[in-house]
């Protein structure tokens, strides 16, 4: 059997992949100025700095009466202070103005008395409680300060971000913009479209499996805000694969090939890409995902991913997802021991609740280990494992 000679440490592989991705995006300006609606769920490729203070005026934080705080000093239930009700953009000493949450304070007002502590009678209002300056007031810049970084490069823009961006008067943002071609290879694959009745069909499939990775990869690409194009299954044949690669390189920025990179005699993908260009990486010391390959053809990157569902998911996560954006990270105690091998990085799928619970059945083909997981932990090269009760970092899906 042919083996990948030497497995590259994850750190080195990550560096090579990330540098190449960075250069491709820089050189080819794979960036788009998107309006807010378009920017939803896309990855920000710039820091967003607030152009203004928010709020940009002092506003009421409660419904009530805008006053000059000093006027209310000494007010109590037994000894209310009486102020004149006015309806101007400005108040003077001895005056109050009705105000609702979010409204701009009239000039000279510096506090709001909650309506519960007031009693309106004709053109007067009785104040039963004193307020200090700025009480019940949202001051200029309380939410966001001018010049502050409000969103960082690498953020996937969510609905709440849209609200903030709009509130700051920001109409467009720069997001990454790439096209991914997704090529499935392998004689063992059957197209989902050819399945008529799966219960009957499996009797005839005789060890073949449904071409399922492409749907996942399409979804992963799409959820980074990118376009994904799925190509037809390519048989284990160099000429067929070359033709598809050449076509897909014309139509896309980056290719993902799934299958054909296993550490086996059938390593046709790597050989084919090598004949068309260069191989930068083949084999990384991770589990699952070891037979990862990276090639360059016509200055475009080709990611050679495993044919096994979990392995290809892990490779996408480590080498593509993590380049563009960071998962939310939490720290929690482990529910049981997990072992790892020195020199290798282990990607462990986990369920979380009050503890981090590693999922037991974790073969590289066991797709339910991903669908049932809430996130993952990475056990670094220099660690032999973690013990029950130890606090570990979990990246949340």
């Amino acid at each position: 059997m042919k083996l990948i000679k030497k497995l590259m440490p994850l750190n080195n592989a990550e560096k090579i992949v990330f540098n190449n991705l960075f250069e491709y995006i820089e050189k080819n300006k794979k960036i788009k100025k998107a309006n807010l609606i378009e920017s939803l769920n896309r990855v920000l490729c710039e820091d967003i700095i607030s152009p203004i203070d928010l709020p940009y005026f002092n506003r009421a934080a409660m419904d009530g009466y805008a006053v000059i705080a000093e006027d209310t000093f000494g007010a109590s239930e037994t000894n209310p202070i009486i102020l004149n009700l006015v309806n101007n953009d400005e108040i003077s000493s001895g005056e109050a103005k009705i105000i609702f949450t979010g409204e701009k304070l009239p000039k000279n007002a510096d506090a709001v008395v909650m309506k519960e502590f007031c009693n309106e009678i004709n053109n007067f209002v009785e104040i039963y409680k004193s307020v200090y300056p700025n009480e019940n007031v949202s001051k200029v810049g309380e939410d966001v300060k001018k010049g502050e970084i409000v969103l960082k490069k690498g953020t996937i823009i969510n609905p709440y971000h849209l609200n903030l961006l709009a509130s700051l008067g920001i109409k467009k943002v720069n997001v990454y913009d790439l096209k991914f071609g997704i090529i499935p290879t392998g004689d063992e694959l059957v197209s989902l479209e050819d399945v008529e009745n799966i219960e009957e069909d499996i009797k005839k499939l005789n060890g073949k499996v449904i071409n399922s990775n492409v749907y996942m990869l399409y979804g992963l690409v799409k959820n980074l805000g990118f376009n994904g194009k799925i190509y037809d299954i390519v048989e284990d044949n160099k000429d067929s694969l070359k033709n598809t690669i050449k076509l897909a390189l014309k139509e896309n920025d980056i290719l993902l090939i799934t299958g054909g990179t296993s550490v086996s005699e059938r390593d046709i993908t790597v050989e084919t890409v090598k004949e068309l260009g260069n191989i930068l990486i083949h084999g990384v010391n991770i589990r699952p995902g070891k037979p990862f390959g990276l090639g360059v053809v016509n200055n475009k990157l080709i990611f050679m991913l495993s044919g096994y569902p979990v392995a290809s998911a892990v490779q996408f996560e480590l080498f593509i997802q993590r380049f563009f954006t960071k998962r939310k990270k939490i720290i929690m105690p482990l529910k049981r021991n997990i072992a790892s091998e020195l020199g290798r990085v282990d990607f462990v799928r986990v369920k979380i609740n009050k503890y981090v619970d590693p999922i037991r059945i974790t073969g590289s083909g066991v797709i339910s280990s991903l669908t049932r997981s809430d996130g993952y932990i990475l056990i670094p090269e220099n660690v032999e494992g973690y013990e029950k009760g130890e606090f570990v970092e979990v990246y949340l899906f």
Copy 2:
């Protein structure tokens, strides 16, 4: 000042909203049979039951040699057992077949010896280690069992789910399918499109704010897989609002009106909806989000949301998001005390890391309290607060 007379407890309000949503969807069959690509990020409205075992054949979990386990008993490095190499779909006692991860075991084989423990010489293979039956084999149904529920109603379909669905030969799934009209109201609103240079413009805006909630609501609706249509800003005027509502009801299933429901004299939205149909809810004992309203006009639901960013986000979360899908929930200790009021449900935005850290500035307009948060906790009606160190449930965004 006019007050909402009596605030409804959250439980009651939730029941009314959810029952009405359920009935509308059932009656009007607001469901779509989506293929896998279309189903990404949409909400499943049925349980998915596996039609087959996965894998549906016994397959190799390692690269190596398929054998009959019994043949290897007693093998060791000093005393290897020698088997005949064959290349058939079936092996007999004394035979072995080369096999790669994921491949179907030949008939009669019941174990795989990892290649590390084998040495191939011409048509023979030396086995240096015995294996027990089923060793290094993924048995039928190991990943998923036929008849098992693999995805539950209410799941937002992610890329990993697509892989699983395709692997099971499932080509289409039923997802919820709704159209939401989003109507902003309020004389205090300025259109984002009219902003030229925000730093200059705020000098002239004089207390007006940018119409930002509609972008957030659009994103929230979209991220449930639904269509959102944003309408132009409606001034605080019953006739204008009536016209927009009538138009939007024709074009959508559900309306979200943001603004105009504050507990104030300017409660035009509720009055307008009342003139067109019925009000089912007005005012819920939650914070933020108290001035929530639900109305029915022409058998369609109208959600009357606050004009304040955080309050409307909370209302969407509690009354719409949570109807369709459940957020991931974790349990962690609090970093500091939080107080609440008996009888009221508090929605507290939090940051999480090793502890749950409630965000301090939490006015209903402070949108950064949402963009900086990782999730939220709900303090129930009968709880006065939580103490530092106490374990609380966090719903993750």
